[in-house]
């Protein structure tokens, strides 16, 4: 019970900080809308219909936009040494990791919802017949992405290369999320039955679980001084 309260307090702290600065959500939101605009001009509609490749575009937008926010997960605290104080508190390191992941997950869910709205507006996209299954695919994919991204964001924030290092570390590991997430989204947007994406949802859940477990176990080696 204590553990959950600690995680909750950390999540609350991060969300309050985000609500007050609105730094990351604003950056990610603006980024995704602008990417939507760029995509609509980059695709030649006489060659390929944007609707046909929408699922891939949506996932790329979420991942690129997400990297923008995830890269700055520890920035604010790192700048004035506040993270040292968090580390000094008697909170287990895995609770710290889970708190950061949940806070990032909430932020990225908001951004992902915005991405879907933007693409629905710009590309006249429906959400298919199974919005619940679509939500499960997207949320599990984002959870796995956030878990990997938060661990390596803590790492890259402590290197001299900083955020430029983050995509190099994270992108090769994200292949399962991209493959299962994009194909399942594509099937659901085409209106295929949920049974088609059953396996995808399971694999996305497995990826999220592995990412969360390894992150929670290894986070203390990353933040250790």
């Amino acid at each position: 019970m204590d553990y959950l309260r600690q995680v909750g307090a950390l999540v609350w702290k991060d969300l309050v900080v985000e609500l007050r600065t609105r730094e990351r959500v604003a950056a990610m939101g603006a980024f995704t809308v602008l990417v939507g605009i760029l995509f609509s001009f980059a695709i030649d509609p006489s060659v390929v219909q944007p609707q046909d490749i929408a699922s891939g575009l949506i996932w790329m937008t979420v991942i690129f936009g997400g990297m923008l926010g995830l890269g700055r997960t520890f920035h604010l605290e790192e700048d004035d040494g506040a993270f040292q104080c968090v580390l000094l508190s008697p909170i287990p390191r895995d609770a710290l990791f889970l708190g950061k992941v949940i806070a990032n997950f909430i932020l990225l869910t908001v951004v992902t919802a915005l991405v879907f709205v933007v693409f629905a507006l710009f590309f006249d996209l429906g959400f298919g017949d199974h919005p619940l299954a679509l939500a499960a695919v997207v949320l599990l994919g984002v959870l796995g992405f956030v878990a990997v991204g938060t661990l390596f964001s803590a790492m890259s924030a402590r290197t001299t290369m900083g955020e430029t290092l983050l995509p190099i570390l994270v992108f090769p590991l994200l292949i399962p999320v991209v493959i299962y997430g994009a194909t399942a989204t594509s099937s659901l947007l085409q209106g295929l039955p949920v049974s088609e994406v059953d396996g995808n949802i399971r694999m996305l859940a497995a990826f999220a679980l592995v990412a969360l477990a390894s992150g929670a176990g290894l986070f203390r080696f990353v933040v250790e001084e």
Partner: protein, 238 residues
């Protein structure tokens, strides 16, 4: 470095060179030519062993990394670094020889073939491994970061493997030949095994010598740190 390790490395090196000579005799004079692909199929006798060594090296990187995080013994980190350097070399060989074969067999330089794709991603994970090590001010931190990356990579590679395989089964390619199908005749298998043995010996020879190099550097840093008025080694106490 301990002389025993070095002499073991040298012995493995001689064995490796011997096996390489045998391999070349087998590849260029002895083994039968594959019927549909012709001589270009012989790239396989270095391509497959290099891939085997590349993935084995990553296993060593991940295991030594986990051991390092657990025991905080610098020797384990030095072993992981040595294995990573060898792994990156052999991954590069796989990635350069694969397209050379693919251009003739498939007609294109690059095909999103399962194992080739996996090797490409492995190359990037290795790249991240070295970048993380190089870009920290405190070397201890870089060692821990690299170990974490090695472990997460090793956990993720099976998932990448499954997902790429599944993705390819979704979009079947018309001209994918099964390079080492179950029907390979015995002389080809023998040649392949010679290649695997040769590359494994060479890898461990280099691995041991590289490890010895890292040990000697470590000793040098410690000595410089102990010298009065010398530069203070930055957190390299073991």
């Amino acid at each position: 470095m301990s002389n025993r390790l070095r002499s073991l490395g040298v012995v493995l090196g001689f064995l490796g060179v011997l096996l390489v000579l045998v391999l070349h005799w087998q590849v260029f004079y002895w083994v039968a030519t594959e019927r549909s692909m012709g001589v270009v199929q012989r790239i396989f006798y270095i391509h497959v062993p290099a891939a085997w060594v590349a993935f084995m090296a990553f296993g060593i990187v991940a295991l030594c990394g986990a051991g390092y995080l657990w025991l905080k013994d610098d020797r384990l980190d030095q072993a992981a670094l040595s294995a990573a350097e060898g792994g990156m070399l052999f991954t590069t060989i796989v990635l350069l020889t694969g397209p050379l074969w693919g251009k003739v067999a498939w007609g294109v330089w690059w095909e999103w073939e399962l194992r080739l794709t996996l090797t490409l991603l492995l190359w990037f994970i290795y790249l991240g491994y070295f970048l993380v090590r190089k870009s920290t001010e405190n070397p201890q931190k870089g060692k821990r970061f690299a170990a974490v990356l090695g472990i997460v990579g090793a956990l993720d590679i099976p998932l990448i493997h499954i997902s790429v395989k599944w993705f390819r089964s979704l979009h079947p390619e018309p001209v994918v030949m099964n390079p080492d199908g179950p029907t390979a005749p015995p002389d080809m298998l023998i040649t392949l095994f010679t290649g695997v043995a040769a590359f494994t010996c060479l890898f461990f020879c280099f691995f041991l010598l590289r490890y010895g190099l890292e040990r000697m550097r470590h000793a040098l840093v410690l000595r410089e740190a102990g010298r009065p008025g010398g530069p203070v080694a930055n957190g390299v106490a073991s």
